[in-house]
């Protein structure tokens, strides 16, 4: 077991890869009472095309999410939620484009709950009947999201920015697609992607490292690894599919969505540093302390605002969504920011200070630490122990060089306006 000191944070993280490839990351906090356990796989909504035994397979969209729901079905009929409840422990699961993970969190019966979590995720039980039953529940889940205007805007942006990527499709799939799912599809995905070298265990909080490691080994060391199928993640073109679009929604205030697609290959920078720089650029340009926010606020253009980066293959996509009284004017203001863009030293140094302070604050809280480590595990498949140093070492010269290399005009814009009543 490798001990990795998280620099400047007075805590240590322990990492080990079992022989079968399972990745284990443990971060004990002695002064906390609660714990959080995640057991996950790098199987998410991205994967619907793959080759098994030389045969090309296409499973229905939304299958990773469907499988997540069905994981809670056990051969002995016992409900995992009930098991965790007995010690007042909460359980949940979630699916993204890149992963599915199962979590439990509480402050009692750590070892029993850890063992059970690993066991139940290793025991799929699908029948024609229980698969059918889930379709009604998931259909309602999909409809719940479909009714949300922000969600509609995001989906249209995704459809327009990508040509072939699975990111064009909702993580949950569609009612039509999930209706096709059979128990055979689920077993096929489970058997191929819930395999040790494609999975990880992450634990943060109050627990004993040796005890945790022993339980994980007892439960998972003997699980045989299976070679991953050949996954087909469609190549993407650099261009966006559609540059401008307009949709109608149940809104009283219009919305503007924008997605910038950036090919990172020519930028020649390692993933972590690149992510830090890109985030820094957009935070300085559009964050709460930016001149942009001040300006659009004073012009009464902006109501709420949301931004996020996403990675797909060699692309980084920057999403921005806002509700606004004037989509055209807001777009002009955004464009203005990208004109002759130079990052100022004052803003750059201030944001570095803020980010470092936030890394320290995060350690106060189990949930925040979990989400930070989890992000690392998903994005880089490892923990980044020296983030504060990395932030400190970011250079103004470098960021301004980078800014010059990026084409911010390669983008897709969607406006959402009120339906006529």
């Amino acid at each position: 077991m490798k001990e990795i000191k998280l620099k400047k944070l007075d805590v240590s993280c322990f990492e080990e890869d079992l022989d079968n490839g399972l990745k284990i990351v443990l971060l004990p906090f002695l002064n906390k009472k609660n714990y959080f356990i995640s057991y996950g796989t790098y199987f998410g909504a991205d994967i619907t095309n793959f080759t098994v035994n030389k045969k090309e397979v296409k499973v229905p969209d939304g299958i990773a999410h469907f499988l997540e729901h069905k994981m809670f079905e056990q051969p002995d009929g016992k409900d995992p939620f009930t098991f965790f409840s007995e010690s007042g422990t909460s359980a949940n699961a979630s699916t993204s484009y890149e992963y599915t993970h199962y979590i439990c969190y509480g402050n009692k019966e750590f070892s029993k709950n850890l063992r059970f979590l690993l066991q139940f995720v290793n025991k799929p039980f699908y029948t024609d009947e229980n698969v059918e039953k889930e379709k009604g529940i998931i259909a309602e889940e999909l409809k719940m999201y479909e009714d949300i205007p922000d969600f509609q805007l995001e989906m249209r942006l995704r459809e327009n920015v990508f040509h072939k990527s699975p990111r064009r499709i909702d993580i949950g799939g569609s009612v039509k697609e999930i209706k096709k799912i059979t128990k055979e599809d689920l077993y096929l995905c489970y058997d191929n992607f819930y395999t040790p070298s494609n999975m990880f265990v992450l634990i943060v909080g109050n627990f004993d490292v040796d005890e945790a490691l022993n339980i994980i080994k007892e439960e998972l060391q003997t699980v045989k690894n299976k070679k991953l199928p050949n996954i087909k993640l469609p190549k993407e073109e650099l261009s966006v599919l559609k540059e401008k679009d307009k949709i109608y929604g149940n809104v009283k205030v219009d919305k503007l969505g924008l997605a910038i697609k950036i090919d990172t290959t020519p930028l020649k920078m390692d993933d972590i540093t690149l992510d830090l720089y890109l985030n820094m650029i957009t935070t300085i340009l559009f964050g709460t302390s930016s001149e942009f926010r001040q300006r659009v606020r004073n012009e009464k253009l902006l109501n709420n605002f949301y931004m996020e980066w996403e990675t797909y293959r060699n692309y980084h996509i920057f999403y921005m969504m806002a509700s606004t009284t004037d989509t055209n004017k807001l777009l002009e203001e955004i464009d203005f920011e990208f004109n002759d863009l130079v990052i100022s030293e004052e803003a750059f140094e201030r944001m570095k200070k803020v980010w470092i302070a936030n890394e320290v604050k995060m350690i106060d809280n189990v949930d925040a630490t979990v989400s930070n480590l989890f992000d690392d595990l998903i994005k880089y498949r490892k923990i980044i122990p020296n983030k504060i140093d990395l932030i400190r070492n970011l250079s103004l010269e470098e960021i301004n060089k980078l800014v010059k290399k990026i084409d911010f005009t390669n983008r897709s814009v969607v406006e959402m306006v009120a339906k006529e009543e």
Partner: protein
């Protein structure tokens, strides 16, 4: 953890010493009986605090100042608690150990600046800034239907009783918004400073003497103390159940049910009712989750919550409109089962475990610690150890007795009428 309460004349200072956190959290709570026509004013006032102050005359300058204090954060919120409106200012700052000497004191000074030194001239807020804040409020009020769940809860409460504070929309009202100007907002600000009850909480690795003098220096009120009205709302029950409906151009329908609890003793309100709710619809192990979702595949979300100070228990679900009748029947039969005692000792044990876990969990979060002491202050609730003990002793009989006091009153359906096949 050590708790010290100090009466500083016009307000109480609550000091909670713990070395668990690297940050120090301060919460200043203004509370006063809620008045419907003042909700919008309060919202606008809260946003004005965060828009600018005398020395930091733009939102950007305020933000940059907070960032310079090692990412200190200040937030304001307004929420209703029974008959009261609570206006909270939260400050979270890193302990000086992790920043530099004097950073926390400077942060407190900054919070004081935000509250006591607003961007005012000639006893008026500034017109241009007020316009910005009002426009945002206007857009938010107009967008209220975008969150269908929340909207259905609002409409349910309005159907239940137009006059009770329960039905007040915390997002505010267009009529009231129009009436707000630079002068009357300033008058209202002065009134809040003078008439509201104030409590200040500080949690973290702090020294009693130091923090007391720091707070005294920075927070000076001339509050006029009055007699408090009760926090708890006495909610009436109608003789015949009310069914209300509204349509929306969505694919999913939302069902929101208002159940009234009558004649609860304080013990029943804080203990057996809590267990009743956990068993009925509190989590993914509850009766409603299992029977309506898992067994009958009727929904993805279904849950119940207790609004203890309102004497209400609310049930909500997102369903297909064709399942409305069946869903309602299932909810009723599950509530009837609770009355008949059709739940096991194991169910009770599990519900108690949840509660105890939540109590322990509370100690891991500064804001939850403050909530606990705030409730003890204003409602005289028990301390953590008493809570733990009393909850362990709740019997099945107690829960059944409470179940009989829960009456379904108003059923609201926000019917999604969007064409199928999309």
């Amino acid at each position: 953890m050590e708790y010290i309460k100090k009466d500083l004349g016009s307000y109480n200072l609550h000091i909670i010493k713990t070395d668990k956190f690297k940050t120090i959290t301060v919460r200043v709570v203004f509370h006063s009986p809620i008045v419907k026509e003042e909700i919008t004013l309060r919202n606008i006032l809260c946003d004005m605090f965060m828009q600018s102050s005398k020395n930091y005359d733009s939102k950007r300058k305020l933000t940059i100042k907070a960032q310079d204090l090692y990412a200190t954060t200040i937030q304001t919120t307004n929420n209703r608690l029974g008959n009261y409106i609570m206006t909270n200012f939260y400050l979270t700052a890193l302990n000086d150990k992790y920043t530099e000497e004097g950073n926390f004191a400077e942060s407190i000074k900054f919070l004081s600046e935000v509250i006591f030194n607003p961007d005012v001239e000639n006893e008026k807020f500034k017109r241009d800034k007020l316009d910005i804040v009002k426009t945002i409020a206007l857009n938010n009020i107009n967008s209220v239907k975008e969150d269908a769940s929340n909207y259905s809860l609002m409409r349910m409460a309005e159907s239940y009783s137009k006059d009770s504070p329960i039905s007040y929309r915390m997002i505010g009202y267009l009529d009231d918004l129009e009436k707000i100007n630079e002068e009357n907002l300033y008058d209202y600000y002065l009134k809040m400073l003078e008439k509201d009850f104030v409590d200040i909480f500080v949690v973290g690795d702090i020294k009693e003497e130091e923090i007391t003098s720091l707070i005294k220096q920075n927070f000076k009120f001339k509050t006029v103390k009055r007699k408090k009205v009760s926090y708890i709302i006495d909610s009436p029950v109608r003789k015949r159940r009310l069914f209300a409906k509204e349509t929306i151009d969505n694919s999913q329908s939302k069902i929101a049910i208002c159940n009234v609890t009558t004649d609860l003793t304080p013990y029943e309100r804080y203990y057996p009712l809590t267990l009743y709710n956990v068993i009925l619809g509190g989590g993914s192990d509850s009766k409603l989750f299992k029977n309506v979702r898992e067994e009958n595949s009727l929904c993805y979300t279904i849950s119940s919550v207790t609004n203890k100070l309102d004497n209400l228990l609310i049930i909500m679900a997102g369903i297909d409109k064709i399942s409305y009748k069946k869903c309602l029947e299932l909810i009723e039969s599950n509530m009837l089962d609770m009355k008949k005692g059709k739940f096991s000792e194991k169910d009770i044990k599990i519900a108690k475990e949840y509660y105890v876990t939540a109590l322990d969990e509370m100690l891991e979060s500064e804001s939850n610690i403050i909530d606990n002491y705030l409730m003890m202050e204003i409602l005289n609730t028990d301390d953590i150890e008493t809570k733990r003990e009393k909850m362990q002793n709740v019997s099945k009989k107690d829960i059944i007795k409470v179940a009989k006091k829960v009456k379904m009153d108003t059923v609201f359906c926000l019917e999604g009428v969007k064409d199928e096949g999309n």
